[in-house]
Symmetry: C2
Subunit: 299 residues, 2 copies
């Protein structure tokens, strides 16, 4: 089955202690869509400006990502620029130029409205709502978010959370939302907001699922060297949804393995700037790391 | 087989957001010895003053801990007082009264010198050396440490690390020792200092083993409420050594499971002040949490 992914499609200029790279392909939807593409068909919904490099359209196409829902509008593509500190955990935004993103209204082509799996990647909650409003009856809806929306659009976000099967957020956002330092206590509070599944991402410490069968402690793949963590969280949730959409059986049966696959795709993402490493990965290399993670977790 | 454990035996006055408790039984050797006692015989080596409450001697004895190596000297027991912040991760030392600990020289009874498993719990590296010097030919030696010794006794510690089978430290100490933010990179560097096994403790994020068979990602047992984390790291390494000493088969075959058992004992430790929760635990409750951790990690 296919996954519909909506989110930001951007140009990222990224500076880390390992180097500097201008105008890479970035954005939550780009990372999530490429990650999901390793498992099955993906429909991308987003917006770019007329300055969007044709090579990036080619990149999407090489990953067989359906671009019917990608609007190309007069104006400039959303441009984000940021810098990471030595420890790769703290990042600082240097510049945000919204460009065509400022007035973006996602419009779903007819062929997209019956997609069974929907990933509302990080984007304003009002736009996430707008996409859901156009869907017929999705089988499984997941959403990611960021601290910005907790700060400036909390009510929209809380209304959105009620409409989700799975809500994915990182540990600092979970703390911000619940005022809980303890992530297991935070998970309990977030469940009360509506979703059946809650996933808290903890970067190199892995992630935690809370669902009807209890917790799952999902490890992160060990990386002795991180080149650029931008998009790792989007890759995680994209890989997870891509796997879920194509695996046989119920979501409940597959979600743990789906997180493992997401975790592995995210590990590749961190090994290069932007999408440069992810786009060179093969399904076989993904399977290899999944097997390694099995070995690394066995006792 | 028995485990010999040397370290601090202290009175801890602990303040956390959940409450305040004066003069609890504490110290690295106390926590480690009680944790190890769930699995087999333990020999404790330490020192206390004449003010040491008899009920704490009874507590050791209830856990069938051999106290032949516990010196009771004229003077005061080592007293530590500390306060935790709301998030339970940062702690502040309010007071340290060394008492009889100031001039402590561990002296091993003859019956202790052939112990096959030795845990050098957190104590000055020079004293850890002194214990090793008195041992005949231990089968497996592990040591823990703390930031203080990295600051004031680094050369002693580096010499000690060469003599170990396993070196256990927490993530901030690993960073301090190697200047690496990435724990997998830090593990590689620490291996070069000598030990076959290196374990990095990451608190609620679990722990990582690096050994001849590669990495093991050991989860922490999920706790929605932490009452007092003091001694959790000592409980972890004590439980690990206690399990290793009694399990059939080689250390290599057992060390992952040993870490899981250590992780479970540490989880109980965090649920009460000082040793109050740990001392009420049964082996059956430990086995129950080990089974739960298996379920929580399976995919």
């Amino acid at each position: 089955m296919s996954v519909l992914i909506v989110g930001s499609t951007a140009l990222d200029s990224i500076k880390t202690p390992k180097g500097e790279n201008p105008r890479l392909l970035g954005g939550s939807a780009s990372h999530a869509a490429v990650a999901a593409s390793f498992f099955g068909p993906v429909k991308l919904v987003g917006v770019v400006g007329q300055d969007f490099p044709p090579r990036y359209l080619q990149l999407y196409k090489r990953h067989r990502i359906n671009l019917e829902g990608l609007q190309i509008l007069p104006g400039k593509t959303f441009h984000w620029s940021g810098e990471y500190e030595v420890n790769m955990n703290n990042r600082r935004t240097l510049l945000t130029e919204l460009g065509v993103f400022e007035t973006f209204t996602p419009k779903l082509p007819n062929s997209h409205q019956n997609a069974p799996f929907v990933l509302l990647a990080n984007i304003a909650p009002s736009l996430q709502h707008h996409v859901l409003d156009q869907m017929e009856r999705p089988k499984f809806v997941a959403a990611d978010t960021m601290d910005l929306w907790l700060n400036i659009a909390l009510q929209d976000l809380l209304r959105l959370i009620k409409r989700l099967d799975a809500f994915v957020l990182n540990d600092s956002e979970a703390h911000q939302l619940t005022k809980e330092d303890n992530m297991f206590a935070a998970l309990k509070k977030i469940h009360k907001l509506g979703p059946k599944y809650v996933v808290i991402k903890k970067g190199s410490h892995g992630s935690i699922l809370s669902g009807p069968r209890g917790f799952f402690l999902c490890p992160a793949y060990p990386l002795p060297k991180v080149v650029d963590p931008t998009g790792a969280g989007d890759s995680f949730v994209g890989g997870m949804m891509g796997y879920l959409a194509t695996a046989k059986g119920s979501v409940e049966e597959n979600i743990r393995r789906a997180m493992i696959y997401g975790s592995v795709v995210a590990s590749f993402c961190c090994e290069g700037f932007g999408l440069t490493r992810t786009t060179r990965v093969t399904r076989q290399q993904i399977e290899q790391r999944v097997k390694e993670l099995e070995k690394l977790s066995r006792f």
